[in-house]
Symmetry: none
């Protein structure tokens, strides 16, 4: 994320540093976006702000919009999601105040900022921008399948919501820690805010899905790695088109399969059995080789958050033995994670 | 086509007869809309029109917009699709002339007619309508994978633009001719123009692609067949997400693989080899069994338009022998096509 975000600069690069807005939330679970930003983009967060009643804090300094602007902030990010993904009526005054202080507003909520008349009026008056990150850039081209320069890694999964974003972030951090030239390429709302840009893949029209992934990771220098956040699963009866377009357009050299060993059925679709890790490896190679015949599996990322350390190591060791591939939990890190990184870079 | 198109039936009523517009195309494969309308709705097409440089013809009389209007035409239909689905700059003057002659404009291109200022101005001035048929219905739900009642057939392909729509229309006609209860389910611009309703699958947002296919072929009586027009190819580096969402959401009992035996590379992507028919059968079964474990291949539809009758029969006989499946060209019909229908209904 130290490198610029390719040709998306003009269309979907977010103004940083951020002021994180926590609203009036009293439950940290609703402030996951703010915590994710504090954890993964803390150096690009000037502070946090809230309104009366908020009892949650990321630990960053509390700054009013005017003070945050004076400290260098360029946008206020809505870091909370409430029931229904709407923009709280109590928030509007703060958002207007932030625009008057010189901050753009960034939101990943379902409700568009531009659907709130008071915000549109304030944006017009102040010249600040309302940035809805669920809106794809306007001019995505149809995919070409052309081989691009540079190296690419894609995280794929046996299901949704089991660690594809976290794995990509951890691998990107490890690559940069080893002195490699690497970019994290975000494909979902939280990832886009962390990266400061990206492509909301699930909001792109199907005919342009692969083209959007191609746009997300443009030609890069030899030795450069794009570490691309995966979405969904090729085996998901609802979301597979997102996963396949991302796979074809990303043309990954290496992929990492993300899996939660406690899960046996698809999240929210209990009549569908989870595919096995082997099925995902096989199908990803078969489909992915269409745009990169050299595609290979670099290893497996296990989400072992419901195991203690010994049980986690045992389940990962068994899988390592069974598949003959590195298996690691990026949250636990350690030698297993180093081995995964080595396998990817081999 | 004679039967109503389910719950989508009130979404479109297009002004007919049509004048087919061929633009300046030099490749008949890009004019499949015009050819499809001439063949399947020829009694509702007054003629065709083109601009300098066009080398393609449907065989209908060439009529200027004014002459077509005098002959009864009520709309000009854009019958060509170029890469990316944009409105050619050279076309605008003809479309304005057509409105001045009293014709509405019908388009299935990605670029909306209403996004072209000169067309909006001419529509306002003349009182004619700009009808963009590639606008999905507003409330498509995320796919569920739930098994629906009734039988479904999907045409799939080794590539784009080689006969998936024709094959579905011919099979629907054959089913109805045998007294079966069947609907043709249109998924692309030409099919929708022919059928008068359907789902523009390639214009649907990726997250809702499978859900859109589920909506297109709702629960139906036992013994009823939905004959669903396929799109693209699972192996197409640009359009595979459309094909996969359609496959998952259609949950076909039977599929027919459409192929052009003269084609060796992907249309418009000459560096990509065409997949073999066997690869398409195998991958369609593997991916399609996710939502219908009983999925099977009913046979192969060959586009033998560049062969004479003897050569066509020879190439189909060889493929029949090789695959052990019925192979027919629906345009040639005959006993081979009857055998394909029997295999599907077996």
């Amino acid at each position: 994320m130290n490198a610029p975000v390719g040709r998306l600069e003009d269309s979907l690069t977010l103004p940083q540093p951020y002021l994180l807005f926590l609203g009036d939330t009293t439950n940290a679970a609703y402030a996951k976006t703010a915590f994710g930003l504090a954890d993964w983009a803390g150096d690009r967060c000037t502070g946090e702000w809230a309104i009366d009643g908020c009892t949650v804090s990321t630990g960053l300094p509390r700054l009013s919009p005017a003070d945050a602007r004076a400290a260098g902030a360029r946008s206020l990010v809505i870091g909370v999601a409430n029931q229904g993904g709407v923009i709280g009526a109590a928030w509007v005054a703060v958002l207007v105040e932030a625009m008057e202080a010189g901050l753009d507003i960034v939101s990943g909520l379902h409700t568009k900022l531009t659907s709130v008349a008071a915000l549109v009026e304030a944006a017009r008056r102040t010249g600040q921008r309302l940035i809805d990150i669920r809106t794809p850039p306007p001019s995505i081209a149809v995919g070409t399948g052309r081989k691009r320069t540079g190296k690419r890694l894609l995280t794929v999964g046996t299901d949704c919501a089991l660690g594809k974003k976290y794995t990509a972030l951890a691998l990107h951090r490890a690559f940069v820690g080893r002195g490699l030239d690497a970019d994290f390429r975000a494909t979902g709302q939280t990832g886009i805010m962390i990266a400061g840009g990206g492509m909301p893949m699930d909001a792109v029209v199907s005919d342009f899905e692969a083209g959007a992934a191609e746009m997300l990771s443009p030609d890069a220098p030899t030795g450069h790695w794009d570490v691309i956040e995966g979405q969904g699963s090729i085996f998901n009866p609802a979301y597979a088109p997102v996963s396949l377009g991302l796979l074809h357009g990303s043309q990954p050299d290496v992929f990492v399969v993300c899996h939660d060993p406690t899960r046996s059925v698809v999240l929210g679709m209990e009549s569908f059995a989870l595919p096995s890790v082997e099925e995902v490896i096989d199908m990803t190679i078969r489909l992915g080789s269409r745009t990169n015949p050299a595609i290979r599996c670099g290893g497996i990322s296990f989400n072992t958050s419901s195991y203690d350390a010994d049980a986690a190591e045992a389940v990962m060791a068994a899988e390592r033995e069974r598949l003959g591939l590195p298996v690691a939990d990026p949250i636990r890190g350690g030698a297993a994670f180093d081995a995964l990184v080595e396998s990817i870079l081999a």
